[in-house]
Symmetry: C2
Subunit: 903 residues, 2 copies
């Protein structure tokens, strides 16, 4: 049964491919799914019966019951909540296991370092070699297994949730590479985070789980549902990483979405809560904790958390964090740019791919070597330990506190006999700042959130300690003395800096959930908002920066307070010279349009005069139309027909095989006449010159689904929009008999024609005996034929705007529906087109953006997707080039058409 | 200058009205705005100069500087953040003042009650009379001033944010009525909340502030911007009500939006934080608090907030709250239904509108009378006091605690010598439950959140006390004794029940912010999610329930886990018999279409054969076209023309006035010829039989903007969609000279034609001397003319779907873009239409919904908006009826057309 299922899926897969990249063949899917379920139901009842026969004895009924239960359970599998619970459970386990392994790795390093305390050089070697090996392994492993696993993953998820298909990013290979790579990278003790990768891992998990669940049938093939599940998965990723369900949901919304469906919000909350719960329960079961609590629990006083007069200090933290955040993003990009722009370095590093990670790790771990420079910057603390000490309740500076602060345990790291704690903190901040910016450029799975969070906490602690030193008895005026709590400042700083780098305000919520205290809510909110305001004015967020570096398709955000966006209109930015094809165009027109432009979709208009927009056609469809018209099989058929005619003349004997073919031809004739009759509504459409031949050959198009160019590099295929564009199938046409442009070939027609084609291929007597000149002549003849769009996939309702639509509105619609282009029409007439590119230009004209125009150094993986379609394109070009080199006299010049277009 | 400004605005207002209800005349706006700014700039520089001349002495430069500063400040006023800060500030002040007044009112009642302790009867009178008077005043005041202020306001805001225009809901009158009505209602001590009304008040505030700010120019006329600001205002409303910025933002998203723009989220956070901050700072300045803290601060222990084994109890609270919440919504609706369905009661109450509120208040306050039944249910505590005591840290039940609990202050209310605290709690919950459900049906401004919150807290406390009694030493196994904290259960219960009633999970966040503790995050999240799951399966949310009761236009949510929504397609639910008009139809066709259908917009197709969709036209536009064609002014002109011709024949003398008219006519002729030349692209369009006459009369259409039916009951005018549909104006046509269907009248044409019209009206010699039969004949003649769509406002890009679009997708698109209908097309051809109604039916077919089909009892206000357009409609009907009564022979029958349509 499983085998049957997989066969059926393979069939489905083929049928999906039939129309190239259209993934939304819902009608077909639904019917096949229904048929499949019905079939499997029958099969199951058969197996029920066979079970009965096989074991007629005592427990037959019991067995049937079991089978039924199983059936019921499987039918329940389609429910969302089961999926979400499974996702939450799996991610909690993954998160816990990763955390456990990281802790083990870090402990091993400490143990090695501690064991060698007799010899400083050996100690140094151990301290440095360990992370270098781990990072190099991580980089190599991901590079070999799945280069897509490199980096944070949030930028890619943002792109995918916008509707762009980045399929290689959601495979099992990537999952394995990301999890193992991340564990090794974080186990090395480098200043790297696990948040971004966890968003990616959760999405991978959701995608794989979806695939797995689709084995049980149900609605897992639905693309829009999958996107909803991915949105929930992003929330789970953050949620299980920090045990912060609410913050996770909000953070994932802020970093991945422009418009958010509130119904996904439920899914996110449900899954993230479950995941965070399991994650913390695992800690309790492992006896790490006594009960479920926050990850970095603080114990600030509740009755008087802060004084109103401390607010300016919090505001200063916010503003400074804003500048710091922008600087971090800028620095990170600068490093990437520097390495890429230096050609010699770049060349060298491209050859020795693992040298760069090893080198960076060597530098960073040398700097943090505790007996060396590390002693001035608490180098021996891991990231987690640093954070725990920074968020501590007590005041470190000795002046302002009643009890003498005793530096014990990890706190000793902050104490240095020569320099005081302020200097240590400053050095820590400065060093960690560039280290983190540098470390996040290493091509391993890693995020930047946690390092930035720690730096922010250190900065906050610095301000707090200064305040405590400045006001030893607190600021409060009347009566009671409330000392200043530097830990509160650390919390504020952490939220503000991480908010500034990621351009989010939900870091505030994450901080509440991480520390388990919400008493500082107003200072944190104020600081985060100020930090965001400053950082957003200066730089894009770290994720947008990476999106630009990686040149992923994106749409910049409209900043707020830019009035121009309300005054710029679509007519100001649209491209007026639209590439279009008319209903009655010839293959030659098609050829020229395809040669001159590079748009992925072309507008179909009624005629060049009326310009009434009828729909849009994908470039791939047109390419396949053209290559079918000019392709070898058609030429062979032509030869066969010619020889057949000659034979007829000579022998006038009709073979058995040919009679079959003849009856087929008759049926085709009838069918074609019907279709021309139907298409009478378009008055300008002249009937093709040779009606019988094309009709005879047309059905073979349907039989070669895999021959259509599927162009996997067509990254901007938009999921949400596609969903609007599912074409009417045979049934729909039957119901609306005025529907004429698409006359699909029903299965009854298909099968005989298949026989025809097979017979054509089978009779080996046909030889390609045409000379090059003959071929060229034949092709010229073919090119002058009128295009038959009958079997072409037309999107009948492309998105339309009017000229007066404002930029603001256009942006909203593009991001809402995930469009990549829209036609501008005026009462049915096509007058222009706006694509993401124009929109981006228009927005970036008003919003200052520092785009990066270089290629990623080790990101050769991004080319892998494009290769196959390039091959196809070049094949087609070869065809055309050969065609050109023959230089036959032609009446038609491409320039005349383009003139016509730009009128 | 202010006078000039208001004149200009009046002009603008007229010009907005020109095209009926199109509010998105952005192009016109932008240009006028630019002109106005330029003008005022000139005027200002003039005033600068006059200032110089006036005061050439010492401080002239200083004054110029001041003026410039002022100018700069005014230019800054357009910025979003200034608006948001102002909004936050105003709302914080309003919230604080309202709270202060409520506290005063409640104190006054207590003081009266306390002062009369000698006589129980007098005490009872005082206890009962006071709330009755306040509620009656509140009900009467709002009923008289602005009946729109009644109720929560969240349902209305949800509808408005969906794009529906409910203009009367955002006026200054409503603001005053809502604030004063709310203060009185809450001051009475009834179980009512302030949250819902505050969402409405904040939105009112934003709308009024927008209007006020537009005095300084800028972008405040932009409708989409206003909707964004309203979304932020909703967040501010919740934020300043509970001093809960994060919860406020999330709650407002959940209750008002289906799709949320993340950029609004920033605005909401910014404004809500500022507002909450000011709100709490006011409390500090008023010496109520020492520093900024939470409203209902709790002091649960941090180190071990709860045991893992307590989780089942929390889950039980969640599930029970789910059932309770659903029951509350059901009960609330049941009460409303009962009162409406009982015709005698309804009739009586409609007469004596204030009797119902008074009666309900009397019943409730009698029940809570402290020396009476109130002693068993802590009747003397106000809502706030109840909540503070319920969230208390200590355990009330005496068994399980070390120290004897001393009931002091407000806690005494929970103690009763005869019954123990469990009974008191149960009575409290049961009594408050029906009281709250009943009280929220009173027609005063009130919400249901706070009462439900208190009931939830009481339920949680009950469970917590039971647990504490059951496990006196806590549940934790090894070593340390951790007592159970019933206060934590109360927090969980409050969040769960309020979440269940409102169908939100963000009540969890509100609870954290209200209590200032986040330690119970996981139990709260689990309980809230369970409560939501149960409640959503049983009943709509309280707000959706009110939306249905009030019959506001809405789109039900798709429940999750309903697979059918992916399999139902648009073709299954669409209406195939679309009302349409063709480009070459006659006025008679128009007439018949308008008579037979009641759709607000009609499709415009190229011809009945091709069915190519060109755009959609509003019904009002068509009505105005028809009434112009048949109206008296046109008939008078006809008479004048006839008499003029007669005169010409007789006198052949051309008067001076007529020569002016003649030149005008000539220019009109030229213009018309150009326009017919341009419209040659549509091949099926035959030229009208009498080209000169209609062209001559046409421009007068533009001169009567206020005469167009504006149909204020047209509630479903959709904001977001309209923005796509701004028509090309003169400039756009000049640029694209192929654009033919709309040939707008430029100002140069307008002015002379005005003179013509005035001259027509002015020459009093024309008399309406036609007999009824003559009029009927003339009208018949007019009806046979072809419709001239030149000055008609056509939406050139109505939203289109294809047949295969799934229900799920359609729902998404409708809620994303706020559509109320969409055309279903197949490659340009119109084949069906889907409106909100069909969608609603389809969804409610799969999602079980208990719709309420009765009218609100005191909600006569809902009719007020519709009256004017009904008048217009009846006028038009009169015209037609008269027409019919004449019963002239007609060739055309309406049935033939409808047959044609349904083919």
């Amino acid at each position: 049964m499983a085998g049957d299922g997989s066969d059926q899926r393979a069939l489905q897969y083929e049928q999906t491919l039939m129309y190239g990249r259209y993934t939304q063949e819902l009608g077909v899917y639904a019917k096949e799914e229904a048929a499949r379920i019905r079939e499997s139901g029958q099969r199951r009842s058969v197996s029920d019966r066979s079970l009965l026969e096989y074991d007629k004895g005592r427990c037959a009924k019991c067995r049937i019951c079991t089978v039924r239960c199983q059936k019921f359970l499987i039918s329940r599998v389609g429910e969302d909540w089961i999926f979400l619970i499974l996702l939450g459970l799996v991610m909690a386990l993954v998160s816990w296991v990763v955390d456990f392994c990281i802790a083990m790795c870090l402990q091993a390093q400490k143990w090695m370092y501690g064991g060698l305390d007799s010899n400083v050089f050996l100690q140094y070697l151990a301290w440095v070699t360990y992370p270098v090996v781990l990072i190099t392994f991580s980089a190599g492993f991901t590079q070999i297994l799945a280069p897509q696993a490199v980096g944070s993953g949030i930028p890619e998820m943002k792109t995918i949730l916008r509707g762009v298909v980045l399929k290689e990013y959601l495979t099992f290979k990537t999952f394995v590479a990301k999890v193992i790579g991340l564990t090794c990278a974080l186990g090395s003790g480098m200043p790297l985070g696990k948040e971004g990768p966890f968003v990616h891992i959760a999405s991978l998990c959701a995608a794989l789980l979806s695939k797995f669940m689709s084995l049980f049938g149900g609605i897992y093939e639905n693309e829009s549902r999958n996107i909803e599940m991915l949105a929930a998965a992003c929330a789970v990723g953050v949620g299980c990483c920090f045990a912060a369900p609410i913050g996770g949901v909000l953070f994932s919304i802020e970093v991945t979405s422009t418009f958010f469906a509130v119904r996904n919000y439920w899914r996110g909350f449900f899954a993230a809560t479950f995941s965070a719960f399991i994650f913390r329960v695992l800690a309790v079961w492992n006896k790490d904790e006594e009960t479920i609590t926050a990850l970095f629990k603080t114990r600030f006083r509740l009755d008087f958390p802060f004084d109103l007069q401390e607010l300016p200090a919090f505001a200063v933290i916010g503003i400074a964090s804003g500048f710091g955040g922008a600087l971090f993003v800028y620095l990170n990009r600068l490093i990437v740019q520097f390495i890429r722009n230096q050609k010699t370095i770049n060349k060298f590093l491209m050859k020795k791919r693992l040298l760069y990670p090893a080198l960076v790790t060597l530098i960073i771990s040398t700097m943090t070597f505790p007996p060396g420079f590390g002693q001035f910057m608490a180098g021996r603390l891991t990231q987690k330990e640093s954070l725990v000490t920074l968020l501590d309740n007590r005041t470190w500076a000795k002046q302002g506190i009643a009890e003498e602060f005793d530096y014990f345990g990890n706190f000793q790291a902050w104490q240095h006999p020569q320099v005081n704690v302020f200097v240590t903190l400053v050095i820590f901040i400065v060093m960690k700042f560039w280290m983190s910016a540098l470390a996040t450029t290493i091509p391993v799975p890693c995020g930047a959130f946690m390092p930035v969070f720690v730096i922010g906490a250190a900065f906050g602690r610095l301000v707090g300690e200064s305040m405590a030193a400045w006001f030893p008895d607190g600021i409060h005026m009347d009566g009671t003395i409330y000392n200043i709590v530097p830990g509160g400042y650390a919390v504020v700083g952490a939220a503000a800096l991480s908010g500034a780098v990621t351009h989010t305000v939900s870091t505030a919520v994450i901080v509440f959930e991480l520390t388990g205290q919400i008493s500082h809510i107003l200072p944190i909110m104020i600081a985060v908002i100020l930090a965001n305001a400053v950082a957003q004015a200066l730089q894009p967020s770290i994720y947008d920066s990476i999106i630009r570096i990686k040149k992923l398709p994106y749409l910049p955000e409209l900043g707020w307070g830019h009035h121009e966006k309300y005054n710029i209109r679509v007519e100001d930015i649209m491209v007026r010279d639209v590439r279009y094809i008319t209903l009655n165009c010839t293959y030659r027109d098609l050829h020229n349009v395809l040669l001159t432009g590079h748009l992925k979709t072309l507008a179909l208009v009624e005629s060049a005069e009326s310009m009434i927009l009828l729909g849009s056609i994908e470039r791939a469809q047109l390419q396949s139309l053209l290559s079918q018209q000019l392709g070898r099989p058609r030429r062979l058929e032509y030869i066969r027909d010619r020889s057949l005619e000659e034979k007829k003349k000579r022998l006038s004997v009709v073979s058995c095989q040919n009679s079959d073919d003849g009856s087929q031809r008759a049926s085709q004739e009838v069918r074609f006449q019907i279709s021309t009759e139907e298409s009478s509504f378009s008055p300008t459409r002249t009937s093709p010159p040779k009606p019988l031949k094309p009709a005879l050959k047309r059905p073979s198009v349907v039989e070669r689904p895999t021959e259509l160019p599927t162009s996997p590099n067509d990254h901007s295929g938009i999921a949400l929009k596609n969903l609007l564009c599912a074409s009417p199938d045979a049934e729909a046409v039957e119901r609306n008999n005025n529907n004429t442009l698409e006359v699909p070939v029903s299965p009854e027609h298909r099968r005989p024609s298949k026989r025809v084609r097979i017979s054509v291929v089978d009779d080996g007597d046909v030889e390609d005996d045409m000379t090059m000149r003959e071929i060229a002549e034949w092709e010229e003849m073919q090119l002058d034929e009128q295009v038959n769009f009958n079997n072409c996939k037309i999107d009948p309702a492309p998105f339309q705007l009017v000229e007066r639509t404002s930029l603001h509105k256009t942006h909203t619609i593009f991001s809402l529906l995930g469009l990549d282009h829209a036609y501008v029409t005026s009462i049915g007439r096509l007058i222009g087109v706006v694509s993401l590119k124009e929109l981006r230009k228009a927005i970036e004209g008003s919003v200052t953006v520092k785009g990066v125009k270089v290629r990623p150094p080790l990101a050769s993986f991004r080319d892998s997707g494009t290769s196959s379609s390039e091959n196809e394109a070049t094949e087609l070009h070869k065809l055309w080039d050969r065609h050109k080199s023959m230089s036959l006299p032609r009446e038609h010049t491409p320039s005349s058409e383009s003139d016509e277009k730009s009128h």
